[in-house]
Amino acid sequence: MAGKETLKDLEKVARSLRRDIIEMLTAAQSGHPGGSLSATDILAVLYFHEMRIDPLNPDWADRDRFVLSKGHAAPALYAALAHRGYFAKKELITLRKLGSNLQGHPDMERVPGVDMSTGSLGHGLSVAVGMALAGKTDGKTYRVYALLGDGEINEGMIWEGAMAAAHYKLDNLVAIVDSNGLQIDGPTATVMNTAPLSDKWSAFGWQVELADGHDFESLTQALNGLRQNRGRPGVIIARTVKGKGVSFMENKAEWHGVAPNRELADRALAELADPKGDLSYD
């Protein structure tokens, strides 16, 4: 897979990733479907369109970096990496099993293509700031992407990182907030209201782009907009649907951290089948 997929191809890629996410979680009988499915289209755009990476050379010094700060969306990241050619797709089914490289949350020492171990919420933006600082210090042109959850940004450390990124004028850094509106205990608006989100990031000195996190044109537009950005970091607030693509999971906080049984998985897979039976990205 070349990595410069057309927007139409990205739909097939994302559907394929979603099917794998369902299969992985069902095999593991644990994990986080809601936030994996809300982030899938964002990961598809990053790994199959936006980022300068080489799956055959995962440690390439000039590669773009990605930090999955919302580490519980690991299944979506693993699916993207496997489909992009970092490791064999058949390994996906080992998710969360004893001895597997595919730990419940990403482990950079075990998985080629994982640029940072994550899982504890709030860490990833600061790490991405460090990576972007290293790039600036060395005069490198790589970009750093961090995917945050909209519940995750309750963490104070996120705002420490946000402050530092603007202070150091890191225009090589892009944060994306997977804004699905739900966290474990319920709607973000009732658990811990972070509105007005755009104003917060603006006030911290970031360029803010709004996007539909399931619309590839909207996402690429936002990413392109931030490429023109000079002297400050950029954030995309991507409006998403938790559990996107599986009707009975959509917008349901209870699907944050439970895996479907086989019967429900089959229903989900039927909904995610390619309408034309095209399995070219499977």
Partner: protein
């Protein structure tokens, strides 16, 4: 390192270890372009400010945000840098503990955390600023190397050793000036304890195992013990982790009794580490000199050391007690 020689005071004269840390970091920065430094608004106190002045493009102030500092250090390390992150020991290991655990130790990132103002020697600032649990917090983390320098010679070598070590390192320093103990010939090696006073073979009645500011007190205690007819072996155990088990077991065999001494809680630090080794391999009567499960308070550093029984006198008292019941077979 050579440029530093004239900055290290002769034996017996005092200098603050953070001063030598700052100077050494600059020398290291000249030798190795991958070395960068971070601080959390305390660079004037930790002396990372010396590096900041020498290499402004390789120094990153995180502001009063220790968690972010450790996260940034992890990101820098993930991109091939060798970050030295400094602040006070309480905030480095306490405030940012979980960042160190999950973003540094677990992925084995090459971050060096060098903290100053450890122990009650912080003085007047009181309990909130006196780290007495930092060694315990860092020692419990897999992949973490924990080092406690005793003097200027040792901190200088330790900074270089930490840079050469592939993985996370924690170094804790005090605030006050401490006397130089070792001479130029001293060599610090990670994972090796140093016998700094060795009675003739077969004559040791007790072993004093110390780190940091307590090494000099153990040497003083050994002199006084001799006056009381007891011969003490003294070990500088600056590498708390990895621990030099062989030397510790050898010393216990030879002397039959052990006193540990550290400017840290008696729970979880050097004393615990030594006890873990000996109770499994060669149990001997032990005594623990350290802060006895309580917080510090304001006072002058010397007064506080006395108040918390961190003195040669207390080491002597403990040594006499364990030597009386020492293991002889």
């Amino acid at each position: 390192m050579t440029n530093l020689a004239d900055r290290i005071p002769p034996k017996g004269k005092k200098v603050a270890l953070r001063e030598i840390y700052g100077l050494t970091l600059v020398e290291l920065g000249k030798d190795n372009g991958d070395v960068v430094a971070l601080d959390a608004d305390l660079s004037g106190s930790t002396k990372s400010s010396k590096f900041a002045r020498a290499f402004p493009d390789r120094f990153y102030n995180a502001g009063v945000a220790e968690q972010n500092m450790i996260g940034m250090a992890a990101g820098l390390a993930a991109c091939g840098k060798i970050p030295f992150a400094s602040t006070f020991a309480v905030f480095a290991t306490g405030r940012a503990f979980e960042q160190i655990r999950n973003s540094v130790a677990c992925p084995r990132l090459n971050v060096k955390i060098v903290a100053s103002h450890a122990g009650v020697d912080v003085g007047e600032d009181g309990a909130s600023h006196q780290a007495i649990e930092d060694v315990a917090l860092m020692r419990v983390l897999p992949n973490m190397c924990v080092l406690v320098p005793a003097d200027a010679i040792e901190i200088g070598q330790m900074v270089y050793a930490a840079a050469a070590w592939d993985g996370p390192v924690y170094i804790r320093m005090g605030r006050s000036p401490v006397p130089t103990i070792f001479d130029d010939g001293y060599t610090f090696v990670i994972g090796r304890a140093k016998i700094v006073r060795r009675p003739q073979e077969g004559l040791a009645d007790v072993t004093l195992i110390a780190a940091g500011s307590m090494v000099v007190h153990c040497l003083e205690a050994a002199k006084r013990l001799r006056e009381e007819g007891l011969e003490a072996m003294v070990i500088n155990c600056s590498s708390v982790k990895p621990l030099d088990k062989e030397t510790i077991i050898m010393a216990a065999r030879e002397s039959g009794a052990v006193v540990t001494a550290e400017e840290h809680s008696v729970i979880g630090g050097l004393g615990s580490a030594v006890a873990e080794v000996l109770s499994e391999s060669y149990p001997v009567p032990m005594a623990f000199i350290g802060v006895k499960d309580r917080f510090g308070q304001s006072g002058k550093p010397a007064e506080l050391m006395e108040h918390y029984a961190l003195s040669a006198e207390e080491i002597v008292r403990a040594a006499v007690q364990v030597a009386a019941v020492r293991r002889t077979s």
